[in-house]
């Protein structure tokens, strides 16, 4: 009997050893290649001086963008005529190398107003042939894809440059200004009037397109530098960065020296296209697995330290399972802890991944936590279920609630979320354009 016990014990040791030896050591690119190659950190751009700063290339870029997209911008000619002092008109265009002085003045006024006084920018559009029944009728008939494309081009035209990254960065700032205009208490009503008034719908679609494309369609993967700076400061002050619905988007945080991270995300397999390639390795593996990061300033390693599974949860909403009579898809709710160490083995912090859905409790304020989300998910958190929202009771959030959104230069508050909810309802009732957080695909 004793002999048998010894044999069993030896077998157990061998088994554990095999398990330990099965741990894997991989490079960061094997897990985060997508983020490394595709993610940008955009700095705040000076919209006020955009024309002056890009004067050398602006004229050529403007003409090039316009000539390449004449037919798509056809219905905007009355507005463009006003903007360009009739250099673009119903008969065609005449864009000379030396730009028309009045046109430059108009462009500078617009660029200046976007940043300094967005309601005045909107009023400028209202007074400049952007309010037109023909335009509204055309947009109602056309697909939202067509309208999105048209207004994407218009923004590119307003901020013409030959460097596409600079332009993206500029439009990211533009989208930030518009977000604040739309959802800050002081100007939300000015914005919702656009949503509720059919003659202003083309302007509303233009604004919503600019926000959607730069913060969701293209911007879902990018970071605003100010957001990272703020997170870094909070992390330095000992706060844990709680990234709700963050998937495996924490590469940039580690790169910035933020080592105290908690991710709450169900990692629904159908959302794979929004994860980086190694997401499954992050969730499933062996204790001792390592991911090595070779950042310019520092080498760090993530070591899988703890893996605790609990129970299976459904990822399919109940109504869908009954409608299609299919079994709900399930995932195993679990918590995985990755230890962050430097090249000398010194412990720097933890990345804790909680594979589960976020609940209202996760949004409760804490002096030891800083909340972070991506724009698209922050929108869905704000929405009621009839608009595909997560139906979290945002009204009972703490009055001092604050959360960073990776694409936004300033943190958002409870009131921002309530205003997003209200504006989404008005969109549903009146404008019927794409949702603020609509899936980019």
């Amino acid at each position: 009997m004793t002999r048998l016990k010894r044999l069993l014990s030896a077998a157990a040791i061998i088994f554990v050893s095999i398990q330990i030896s099965a741990s894997t050591n991989i490079r960061d690119s094997q897990v985060f290649e997508r983020w490394i190659t595709q993610q940008f950190i955009f700095e705040e751009q000076d919209l006020n001086n955009f024309y002056i700063n890009h004067q050398k290339v602006f004229t050529h870029a403007f003409k090039q963008t316009y000539t390449q997209n004449v037919s798509q911008l056809r219905t905007l000619v009355p507005f463009l005529s006003k903007l360009t002092n009739n250099c673009i008109n119903e008969l065609g265009y005449k864009l000379e190398p030396q730009m028309d002085v009045q046109m430059v003045g108009n462009l500078q006024t617009l660029q200046n107003l976007i940043e300094s006084n967005t309601p005045a920018f909107i009023d400028w559009l209202k007074a400049s042939n952007f309010v037109d029944n023909k335009l509204e009728l055309e947009e109602v008939k056309k697909s939202s894809k067509y309208v999105l494309e048209k207004y994407k081009i218009l923004s590119s035209l307003l901020f013409s440059t030959q460097n596409s990254v600079t332009q993206q960065e500029t439009l990211f700032t533009f989208a930030n200004s518009l977000f604040e205009y739309c959802f800050n208490d002081a100007t939300c009503e000015h914005y919702t009037e656009l949503l509720m008034t059919p003659k202003y719908h083309p302007i509303a679609r233009y604004i919503n397109t600019t926000m959607w494309f730069n913060l969701v369609g293209e911007g879902w993967k990018h970071w605003h530098k100010d957001c990272l700076t703020n997170l870094k400061a909070d992390s330095k002050n000992g706060k844990e960065i709680v990234y709700i619905a963050g998937g495996c988007d924490f590469y940039e945080l580690l790169k910035q020296g933020i080592y105290n991270i908690r991710i709450i995300d169900p990692f629904i397999p159908t959302q794979e296209k929004y994860f980086s390639e190694g997401w499954q390795f992050l969730l499933d593996g062996n204790i001792g697995d390592e991911i090595n990061f070779g950042f310019d300033a520092k080498e760090i390693t993530l070591i899988r330290n703890h893996d605790e599974s609990s129970f299976y949860i459904s990822t399919t909403p109940v109504n869908q399972t009954t409608e299609t009579n299919k079994l709900p898809q399930t995932i195993k709710q679990k918590t995985i802890t990755w230890l962050v160490v430097d090249k000398f083995g010194n412990e720097l912090g933890n990345v804790i991944i909680e594979r589960r859905f976020a609940t209202k409790k996760d949004f409760e304020p804490s002096s030891t936590k800083t909340l972070l989300m991506s724009y698209c998910e922050a929108v869905y958190t704000s929405l009621p279920s009839i608009i595909e929202g997560w139906d979290i009771d945002i009204s009972s959030f703490d009055k001092d609630f604050k959360m960073y959104v990776k694409q936004l230069r300033k943190p958002i508050t409870k009131n921002h979320m309530l205003n997003i909810r209200l504006a989404s309802v008005i969109n549903l009732a009146s404008l019927e354009f794409i949702n603020y957080g609509s899936n980019p695909n």
Partner: protein, 436 residues
């Protein structure tokens, strides 16, 4: 052969000569229900109630409070502030002589009810009118229970020398709450209340008062000022277009308004909201469609059916879910005085309202009742009437028989949005809900 010819001649003869027009009395045969049910009130300045507060009021207040103690228990903290502590967590000690602070507080509330609802909302928030616990309880309670609580509170504060005056004052209050809730100036503030858990009881209070006094009981009320206004428009030659007016034309004709168009499908499932002569007014079953039928008013005014024309049919879903088919018809009644002088006409178009009916015209004045206004403003997916309020003319305005001010396009758009917020966040009464 002879039999056939005889039958044909007999039929023609009997149709033309034997069918005699019917004459009915307006007050006894057609509109009796309106005479007994309809009330005409005037808009009353609520701030004046304060000048009548005396020891007698205190007695009323005390009796009312005692009768509704349980219902009002959740409001103890707020009532404590109003009564200067005479009602409190431990019970109540309402003195027979009115306390000056109590009186001052009441006067302040009446002033706010009259002219400053945002101030009242602030006052409620600052003086513990509600809390998250009550909000939670209300989400679980049936709306009838919540309405009862709100009715008790309103009746206790809005004192009146008679039930009639009490109803008039509550109608005035409902008017002010309607303006606060849906007029653009304060709409967003009200929606914030509706979207916020801790302040939802205030929204529900406002919804209860509006519903009860403009729809639940108020569906058959008129504001006198509106009748006067409509009469003036009518005298200027404008046609009064009563949308979904059923057979509610008695007050108009009695007050000298003789140029009326009514667009209403007159669904047979809504009879309890019609007066007794509704079906005969809409369609006569006599062979000549009742041409020549007369309605004689006590004042001598006479309505004569001069035209009935069917133009196809339309389908309608009635209350029990059944779909029925009704004739799409136009009936014209000529209106004359006792001497036979033609005064105008009442045109009834039996059909549903369509978007183009709401096109603004200098010759037309729109009017409606509150219940129907609500459905006109609702989005399709909440069972609205498929009217796009956002596409109404910018200068669209409609007189609502219970409201002191005409409702404009923006207010209707706000009602549309509020109905969605109600569905997603507040989960309370539909303001157009019928009684029963």
């Amino acid at each position: 052969m002879f039999k056939k010819i005889f039958f044909l001649i007999f039929t023609i003869f009997s149709t033309n000569l034997l069918s005699t027009p019917t004459i009915k009395n307006a007050e006894t045969d057609i509109f009796k229900k309106w005479l007994s049910w309809q009330k005409i009130y005037t808009d009353e300045a609520l701030k004046n109630i304060g000048s009548n507060i005396d020891d007698g009021y205190l007695n009323y207040f005390k009796t009312f409070y005692e009768k509704n103690l349980t219902l009002l228990s959740e409001k103890t903290k707020y009532l404590s502030h109003i009564t200067h502590g005479q009602i409190n967590e431990n019970g109540y000690q309402l003195q027979s002589k009115i306390d000056e602070n109590f009186k001052t507080n009441l006067c302040k509330i009446y002033e706010m009810l009259d002219e400053n609802i945002p101030g009242l909302v602030k006052h409620m928030q600052e003086n513990e009118f509600t809390d998250a616990k009550e909000s939670q309880q209300e989400t679980l309670a049936p709306s009838s229970e919540i309405i009862e609580k709100h009715e008790a509170l309103t009746s206790m504060l809005i004192t009146a020398p008679s039930d009639e005056v009490g109803r008039q004052r509550k109608l005035a209050l409902a008017n002010r709450l309607f303006e606060y809730s849906f007029a653009s100036k304060t709409f967003f503030e009200f929606e914030r209340l509706s979207m916020t858990n801790a302040t939802q009881p205030i929204s529900r209070l406002f919804y209860s008062i509006m519903w009860k006094n403009l729809a639940g009981e108020g569906w058959c009320y008129w504001l006198k000022e509106n009748i006067t206004k409509l009469k003036n428009y009518s005298d200027q030659g404008k046609q009064i277009v009563y949308l979904a007016g059923g057979c509610d034309i008695y007050q108009l004709i009695k007050n000298g308004i003789y140029n009326i168009k009514n667009i209403d499908p007159i669904l047979p499932s809504q009879t309890k909201y019609y007066s007794e002569g509704w079906d005969w007014l809409a369609k006569s079953n006599e062979p000549k469609n009742g041409i020549g039928d007369k309605v004689v008013f006590d004042c001598g005014t006479i309505m004569e059916r001069v035209k009935y024309e069917e133009n196809g049919s339309f389908k309608a879903r009635i209350d029990n879910g059944k779909i029925i088919q009704l004739p799409k018809a136009t009936t014209i009644w000529k209106i004359s005085n006792a001497e036979g002088v033609e005064l105008g006409q009442y045109i009834h178009e039996r059909r549903f309202i369509e978007q183009q009916d709401l096109t603004v015209s200098p010759d037309k004045i729109f009017m409606m009742s509150f219940n129907e206004l609500y459905y006109l403003a609702l989005p399709d997916f909440l069972n609205g009437w498929q009217i796009d309020t956002f596409k109404l003319d910018d200068n669209f305005e409609i007189i609502i028989k219970q409201l002191r001010r005409p409702v404009d396009k923006k207010t209707m758009c706000n009602m549309n949005i509020a109905s969605i917020i109600n569905a997603t966040d507040l989960h309370y009464l539909n303001l157009g809900t019928c009684i029963n």
